[in-house]
């Protein structure tokens, strides 16, 4: 059984703080769009959007990104760009936008690298920032998050599991040994 590192309250607070920091860093919410990396990143992106709505009374678009086919560490058949995009739900243009990529855990950095490629395929945003709930270290690529909920130093043998009530019936981050 895992040990809870962030409980519901701490998770909520982390997302709240990330939200404030996004506004702080971007000097507002103009041109802001959120893109959640599937699966849990999407729910976290939605929660950040809800918070921005509460705070600034603006509706920030949220897109969903499925980067399975972009991962360089997963072997897959050559597929066409159309198919690659089929699982994404991004119903807005990212041209000239400030994109905030949202994921649950930042680990090797390969997911984020893939997400960056996927986003770049969609257009030319003004900037891309990365928000993660947990940064557990062990980067294999030169990638760093702009907004971090919690730094959780972990060994590579351990697992970090993020639960969100939307699909898991609880909010928590667990460290599994």
């Amino acid at each position: 059984m895992g040990k809870i590192i962030l409980d519901k309250m701490a998770m909520q607070r982390a997302l709240t703080r990330i939200t404030y920091e996004i506004v702080e860093k971007n000097k507002g919410v103009e041109d802001l769009v959120l893109i959640g990396i599937k699966t849990r990143g999407i729910f976290l992106a939605n929660r950040i959007a809800d918070r921005l709505q509460q705070l600034e009374n603006v509706s920030i678009p949220v897109g969903e990104l499925d980067i399975t086919n972009y991962r360089d560490d997963i072997e897959h058949d050559a597929v066409s760009t159309d198919v690659k995009m089929s699982n994404n739900k991004i119903n807005f243009s990212i041209e000239g936008k400030r994109v905030i990529l949202v994921d649950d855990v930042l680990y090797t950095g390969r997911t984020v690298r893939a997400a960056l490629s996927a986003v770049m395929d969609l257009g030319r945003p003004k900037s891309i920032n990365l928000a993660v709930l947990v940064d557990r270290g062990h980067r294999e690529l030169p990638i760093r998050a702009d907004f971090v909920g919690k730094n959780i130093p972990s060994s590579q043998k351990e697992k970090i599991k993020v639960y969100v009530t939307e699909i898991d019936d609880k909010d928590a981050v667990e460290l599994i040994k």
């Binding site: 909520q12 709240t16 703080r17 404030y20 506004v23 702080e24 509460q54 705070l55 760093r144 730094n151």
Partner: protein
Amino acid sequence: MTERYLILEDGSAYAGKAFGSLATTTGEIVANSTMNGYQEIISNQIYHNQIIVFTQSSIGNTGLDQNAYESILPSAKGVIVREYENLATDHFKRISLDKYLKQHKIPGIYDVDTREIRHHLQRRGNMKASIVDVADDHAFDQLHATVLTNQQVAQVATPKPFPNPDEGANVVVVDFGLKSGILRELSHRDCNVTVVPWDFSAAQILDLDPDGIVLSTGPGSPANLPTSVLKMITEVQSRAPLFAIGLGHELFALANGAKISQLNVEHHGSNHPIREIITNEIFFAGQEQGYAVDPKSIDHAQLFITYVDLVNGTVQGLRHRDYPAFSVQFSPDGAPGPKDSVGLFDDFMEIMARRRDNNDDRY
């Protein structure tokens, strides 16, 4: 059992029985409805120049213990209770409330209708009061003639900086009449704390190379402090993460252009729901306030309102739009009161950690 009197500025007099010190004192009278933590309340410097009426009817049941003082030299002017229990013996090696009040020359009165006094204050608003031996004209004249000092912070805050060493984040606490609960929370998080006097300049503070700065709680009106304090705040808030509490919050608001107004009836309790605007969730915390930030005076281009009191509508928290600087009116340290918002200290730690790790380019 000596009979003594609580007399109020509006001419009311209450006969009761004396405990604690037999001093004659004058202060503002305030009612506190927190049910636990009389020790923390009485020893909080926020009650400098105030006479505290406890609405919870039985006070003193567990004595007082060394681990739960909010200051070393309490400065409250009196304690009014319905019933007090002179108990001391316990596994925490406690002393009794009576003995404590005697040690610190604070008079107490018991056996009065504290619920009636609470109602009275709700109807009539804040006022001065005295604890006296005889409720005669002379006593009332004295009461009316007494002008309470407005140099409250200077009287209770440390005149010299002092360290509270540890190995974690480097935190400078600006003391306006600091409650120990704040230090306790920082200590739990291994912070290397330096407590500095309230009139330290921004340069003096920044010379200590803080990872973060805390503006502490304290007594009285923020308007009584010189504008140099506000200047200090505007200078440090862009240089290091800032967390302001209580009086610190009021000063933070003033420094960022907001206005402060006095409440008709001071609010001391932990029963008001506080709504976090960003999540719409409610929680509870100890609140001890005579002043509040006027929401209409807030420049939304500079500050977010982060928390509001759902009962009286007062602003309970602010955050700067451009800097990692935030403030709360309530006491998140839970000494006394609910610990629902103690995580704010964790937030502060995270913000400081990010700044350290990234050598953040925002500064």
